[in-house]
Amino acid sequence: MARMIRQLDDEALEKPFNKQQFFRLLQYLKPYKKKILSALLLMLIAALCSLASPYLMSRAIGSLQNKELKYIPFLIAGMVLISLIGYFCTKYRIRWMDTSGKSALATLREDLFHHIQGMSFSFFDTRSAGKLLVRVINDVNSLNELFTNGIVNVLIDCVTLVLLLVIMFCVNWKLTLIGLCIMPLLIFILFKLKRVMRLRWQRVRVKSSTMNGYLHESLTGMRVTKAFVREDENADTFRNVNDDIRNNWMKAVTINNALWPALDMTGVLGTVLVYIFGVHFMQQDGLVLADLLLLIWYLDRFWMPLNTLSNFYNSLLTASASMERIFEIMDTPSDIQDAEDAKPLPPIEGKVTFDHVTFSYDREKTVLKDVSFDIEAGKTVALVGPTGAGKTTIVNLLSRFYDATQGKVMIDGHDIKTVQLDSMRKQMSVMMQDSFIFSGTIMENIRYGRLDATDEEVIQAAKTVNAHEFIMRQPQGYETEVNERGASLSAGQKQLISFARALLNDPKILILDEATSSVDTQTEMIIQKALSELLKNRTSFVIAHRLSTIRNADVIMVIRDGQIAETGNHEELIKIPGGHYRSLCEAQYRFMSADED
């Protein structure tokens, strides 16, 4: 049990309810103000109707007690009318509230998604995709109850309680006071319990999110687990996590289960008191039976809203946790944004300049130190150097996935911070180490590079990177469905598809970040032939380990410890005695021919 749940607990305990955020959330309901207000009105009417019903019944019993039948038809008509009004009120309340609440949430979700799309890489570096997914889907969903019913119900419950009190006091204030005399004590206990309850439910939530995290990861890594036969240990861990949930749940739910019986008992005590004193009043003060019954019936209805109200605070806290997490993201500004006076980048030639560029991801460890270079348009640049030297950082700065800490990155003389991001990235293509395939057809995946490309253009791009052949071997050719993990495709095939995708974009600047590492030699040779054709009018940056990829480049830059150690073409660099590039070539050659006897 070495591997335990120490780093699994997802979120810390929640803070108390945040009013400001709540009002901010309510802004989303604003466009539906009219509908919501109408729904509120309907609910008020419905609440009044439901209160009127016992009243009419008690009057009826009063009449029947005295054998007076003449009012009975009116009372019956009244009740039927009340039922019908209730019908329309409920129907339209459901429709209007649900439409408003759910539409508002859909907008909130879209806003959140929109905000996430605008974030830069440093945002995604610190947040896992899984967690962001929970924000967009689950956290927004958990506001549903609050938006569609919660708030409105509470308002109505409050109104109902007040109305009940008023009517009861009007009917007989003395008996009402007697019936409710235990209530203050009850409310006191209720609010004391709330705190304990809140804390306990928070623990349950933390534990379930722990379980979700564990489950998600162990499903993702299931192949590794099976290969290393760790099933039993993992099942044990999972069982422990589940034990935790169960135990915490039982602790929390005990209070919930005790609440309603306590309310019920209090209610009965009140009723008994009303009976005893009521009978007394009937003898002395001339209280009529109908009024006594009315009080008892109303008293019965008093406890339900009280219970819902006490539950509301709890659900408000749950919602508030989601709310906070949503706004935390929406309040994080993107650190890469167009400057206010940013202009679109005109069509470029592809000249790239780094002017004393220094960069650090965390403002502590410097990754690039004072890097300067000039690359003419149309040249191919190879970046060479050990892992972690800063090769990827250079191309990330060029595509402005991050901003340089110091110095300037320029394309055709434009500082990239001063141009519109879209207009710039549209003229480049970046291919990463791991090629990502979206679920959809192969055709759609390639077309992602240029949405208005015709089928012929897509196929042409696929042919150029030598992907056509294997695509045609797929069951439905270009219309074959592939999924997110590209399960039916090999790593090399995925790379070929993303190659075609990049090519279709017809960029002026092309960046290949170890994009060919999983392609077999034959395929790579063919791709390289195709690429050399295509690179003609483009500036390209290539990061690769294989010398075969590197040696044909116009410029080779050896990067070491965040600095350019050597620059030049193959012939120039190879001549430097004791140079990094030279020793790299030597090592590789030795390696290639080692043990050849």
Partner: protein
């Protein structure tokens, strides 16, 4: 119905608790039902007949009944919670173990997000069914029948009048269930679609950004989001047609009673206490009617969830070890492929593969992407079953091996190295949790990972993976190699596992591995000639078939595909 039966069957172990809970529920219902009767007595005996000495005994009775009700309700509630929690615990851990038994094919075809939503949302739905819906349904049914009986005993005439509405309710409920069921399915599917859309967007964010496709992504997301809204509102519509209707039917019961009571009073056939009592029962009778829509709703929800879960549970693990599974005393790593043919989804992947790997040999496999190299090595751990031919390890057919001991002997380093959110040390000893730090460090050294780990903020205790520090591709690959070396396997598989490592480091790793794995059988998949040239046997795969085989020298002489590759690669490595 079948699904509900199945859930009920699974509840068998909790029979005792359930019976107890039901008995307690009877107490609750009975005490609730008797209270209008007591009211009737108060009105008739105390108020109308002026027997004031009866007041206190009756009030005591009310209190005692209430106390019984409240206690039973509490205990019953806790029992149901306990049962449902135990059930959920049981189902969840059972399913988890079942998922661990699922073959690779299952994970090829089901997305993690989809499995997750089964294991969380759907499972919780089934738990809710047990904790609340069953209990609620039983409660309401009892309440309905009980108040009917009491009403009948008080005034059968009024009862019959009220009963006239029940056929309408039954009919409506049936129709509601029929319309809401397919809608729930659609909603669930749309939820999954939105989920997938979002997940892909987040996972492929670097592609989205690189191609400036944010707007395109938003448009697609919006489309799914709006579709979800549409389905949700469709459900609202159905709901809004049904719920108020049930409400109006149940509230109409009161005026109906009044009509009946008025007539009976006129005929002098009912006393005022009975009238009050009947009114009390009417409200008790109509509440279950109002609840009906809620119950149908939650039961339908839970049943669709349960169906999905049971679908998983019913998927048999297609790869099982036989009854008389065998395990050799010691593994030597002698692998024989004998005319092995393997198809996946009716697509042939490997055709008629025959070769032998003697203990201690190194077998290199090369070939174009998609030629079946990775598939070939996953067959060794029997992650897929072959259709034709035999694959034996140490003379025993893999299908006759005990699975876990077999897999424990295979150190597998996959193309894409997955690390868990845990410390580097625990990641390395993933296959051997009991290993001490000395062994961990030794494996790290073999994989050339020692140096960069020592540079980490907390060394071996640095947490990596999704919830930890991100490692570069090359670093991940080296940790993955260390993980495989750690278990001291009889067979080591390196599936293109040094692609992100630079050549010098790769060379060093190979040298170290040679030492450590002296008598181990090694399978190497690689693209670089340098990685394979020292192998005892090199296999060239093309479209699932072995087209060339032999040692480096033999293949050079053959002058085929391999020779071509060597020439290509040598020509680019320049002699200095």
């Amino acid at each position: 119905m079948e699904t509900i039966k199945r859930i009920l069957r699974a509840l068998k172990p909790y029979r005792g608790k359930i019976v107890l809970a039901m008995l307690l529920q009877l107490v609750v219902i009975f005490t609730r039902l008797i209270s209008p009767y007591v009211t009737k007595r108060v009105v008739n005996d105390v108020i109308t007949a002026h027997q004031y000495d009866m007041l206190y005994p009756l009030c005591t009775m009310i209190l005692v009944l209430a106390l019984a009700r409240v206690t039973s309700a509490f205990v019953r509630g806790m029992l149901y919670e306990r049962i449902s929690q135990n059930y959920a615990w049981d189902l969840r851990t059972r399913l988890y173990a079942h998922l661990e038994d699922m073959p690779h094919e299952f994970y090829d075809k089901h997305r993690v997000g989809e499995i997750m939503s089964r294991m969380t949302g759907d499972l919780d739905g089934v738990r809710g069914l047990i904790a609340y819906a069953f209990n609620n349904a039983f409660d309401n049914a009892l309440c309905f029948v009980g108040s009917l009986i009491f009403m009948l005993s008080m005034s059968w005439q009024v009862t019959l009048m009220v009963l006239a509405v029940t056929p309408i309710i039954a009919l409506m409920s049936y129709r509601f269930r029929k319309t809401i069921r397919p809608l729930f399915r659609e909603m669930r599917e749309q939820n999954a679609a939105l989920n997938t859309r979002t997940q892909e967007n987040l996972a492929g964010m670097h592609v989205v950004k690189a191609f400036v496709r944010e707007d395109h992504e938003e448009k697609q997301f919006k489309a799914e989001n709006r579709k979800k809204l549409e389905y949700d509102l469709k459900a609202t519509w159905v709901w809004s047609n049904f719920v108020p209707f049930m409400d109006v039917l149940s509230s109409l019961c009161t005026p109906i009673t009044l009509v009946g009571s008025a007539i009976l009073t006129a005929m002098d056939m009912i006393d005022i206490g009975t009238l009050v009592g009947v009114t009390g029962y009417i409200w008790m009778l109509t509440n279950p009617m109002r609840q009906l829509s809620n119950i149908i709703n939650s039961v339908t929800h839970a049943v669709t969830s349960a169906e999905k879960l049971f679908y998983y549970e019913d998927l048999g693990a297609s790869i099982k070890e036989p009854q008389n599974a065998r395990t050799p005393e010691t593994f030597r790593g002698h692998v024989v492929f004998d005319h092995v043919t393997f198809s996946y989804d009716n697509q042939p992947v490997l055709k008629d593969i025959t070769f032998e790997a003697k203990p201690g040999q190194t077998i290199a496999i090369m070939g174009a992407t998609g030629s079946g190299k990775s598939t070939l090595v996953t067959l060794l751990g029997r992650f897929y079953d072959i259709q034709k031919g035999t694959l034996t390890i140490d003379g025993i057919d893999v299908k006759k091996h005990a699975l876990k001991p077999l897999r424990r002997q295979i150190g597998y380093v996959a193309q894409e190295s997955f690390l868990f959110s845990d410390t580097i040390a625990d990641n390395i000893r993933y296959g051997k949790p009991t290993a001490d730090m000395k062994d961990v460090e030794k494996s790290a050294k073999v994989a050339q990972a020692k140096e960069f780990i020592d540079h980490m903020p907390s060394g071996y205790e640095t947490v990596v993976g999704e919830r930890g520090l991100g490692l570069s591709g090359g670093q991940k690959q080296r940790v993955a190699i260390a993980r495989a070396v750690m278990i001291d396997p009889a067979i080591l598989i390196l599936d293109d596992s040094t692609s992100a490592v630079d050549m010098e480091t790769e060379y060093l790793i190979q040298q170290e591995l040679k030492e450590v794995l002296k008598n181990r059988t090694t399978f190497v998949i690689a693209h670089r000639i340098s990685s394979v040239k020292n192998a005892d046997l090199i296999l060239i795969l093309k479209d699932g078939e072995i087209v060339e085989r032999g040692t480096h020298k033999e293949l050079i002489k053959q002058g085929g595909i391999y020779k071509q590759m060597v020439d290509d690669q040598m020509s680019s490595a320049v002699k200095v």
